[in-house]
């Protein structure tokens, strides 16, 4: 695995984790404030995960599109 592929893998990893963290955090505080426990936390985690995977998927798609064109891809680390 090249250095660049490792970079893409790390980028995708953080994309997915950030979605979960944000969704979980917002859900947790909505639960605390509005007493919706545990629905806001659960739906926040699910929505955050979906959003994170969507971002990760887009990053991978950009990378493989550039790789398929055979470009020396400078767009992605």
């Amino acid at each position: 695995m090249s250095q660049r592929q490792t970079g893409v893998a790390y980028r995708v990893l953080v994309d997915m984790i950030a979605g979960l963290l944000l969704g979980g955090f917002l859900g947790y505080w909505l639960d605390r404030w509005l007493g919706w426990a545990p629905y806001a936390l659960v739906s926040g985690l699910i929505l955050g995960f979906i959003g994170g995977v969507n971002n990760a998927w887009r990053a991978i798609r950009e990378y493989s599109a550039a790789a398929a064109r055979g470009e020396d891809d400078r767009r992605l680390p």
């Binding site: 950030a18 979906i50 959003g51």
Partner: protein, 245 residues
């Protein structure tokens, strides 16, 4: 035997001068002082480096020129000609993060970018700015960015909220990436530094050798993360300018 310090102690914010404005704590901290040092050093490299404007550049001038051309190329490749207007901002962002990261590796210094408030402030600034640029350029048509092309109308009900959520996650992933890398790297260095002291003169050489290797890796990461922050800013800017998916 030296006293033991927690590996997280290095990230502590200390007030150097205590200032309060209307109940708000705006003290001058070690974090602020290292930001100022980074700004002064970065300015010095560019101002002093470019003072002579020699045709055959010296060391400092080469460094300044390499940094300039590196970012200029990045903006040209990723944003295109419209990106020229935003080049000064991206260069400043890159140089500031790079200097903060590298200065953090100096012993007894403080790593500004290891705090999520700092990286998040930069990321949210970038994202709000990029969104405003998108609206200023395309008006309400910018909202079509959230509508994937070639999708049945029924699915749009599901996909548009997902696209909006994904967009809102971006500043968080941008800031977490930089902050987590800095935090993890410096904690690792400190933990292995603790091993050296604990294992003493006999066994301490192995972790010491590891620290040497790790410091080299951290230097690479310091550069790489500044690069990643700058290039993702370019990509987001490109999305807003060209509404490309």
């Amino acid at each position: 035997m030296a006293e033991m310090h927690s590996p997280m102690e290095q990230f502590e914010i200390k007030r150097l001068l205590t200032w309060k404005i209307g109940g708000l704590d705006v003290s001058f901290t070690n974090s602020s002082s290292w930001m100022i040092i980074a700004v002064i050093l970065a300015t010095a490299v560019f101002v002093v480096g470019m003072r002579r404007r020699a045709l055959v550049p010296g060391k400092l001038q080469s460094a300044a020129e390499v940094g300039y051309e590196f970012i200029a190329g990045m903006v040209r490749d990723n944003v295109g000609d419209e990106g020229k207007k935003y080049f000064p901002f991206i260069l400043t962002l890159f140089i500031f993060i790079l200097f903060c990261n590298v200065l953090g590796l100096v012993p007894y210094s403080f790593t500004v970018t290891s705090h999520i408030v700092v990286t998040f402030a930069m990321a949210i600034f970038v994202m709000v700015g990029v969104t405003l640029i998108g609206f200023a350029r395309h008006g309400l048509h910018f909202l079509s960015f959230f509508v994937p092309k070639g999708v049945p109308a029924a699915l749009l009900l599901l996909l548009v909220p997902i696209e909006i959520i994904s967009y809102l996650i971006r500043p968080f992933s941008l800031s977490i990436r930089l902050f987590a890398n800095m935090l993890a790297g410096h904690t690792m260095l400190k933990v292995f530094g603790g091993f050296v002291v604990m294992m003493g003169l006999l066994g301490g050489w192995a972790p010491l050798a590891f620290i040497v290797v790790l410091t080299g890796l951290e230097l690479l990461i310091a550069f790489l993360q500044a690069y990643v922050f700058a290039i993702l800013t370019c990509l987001y800017l490109n999305d807003a300018l060209h509404l490309s998916h």
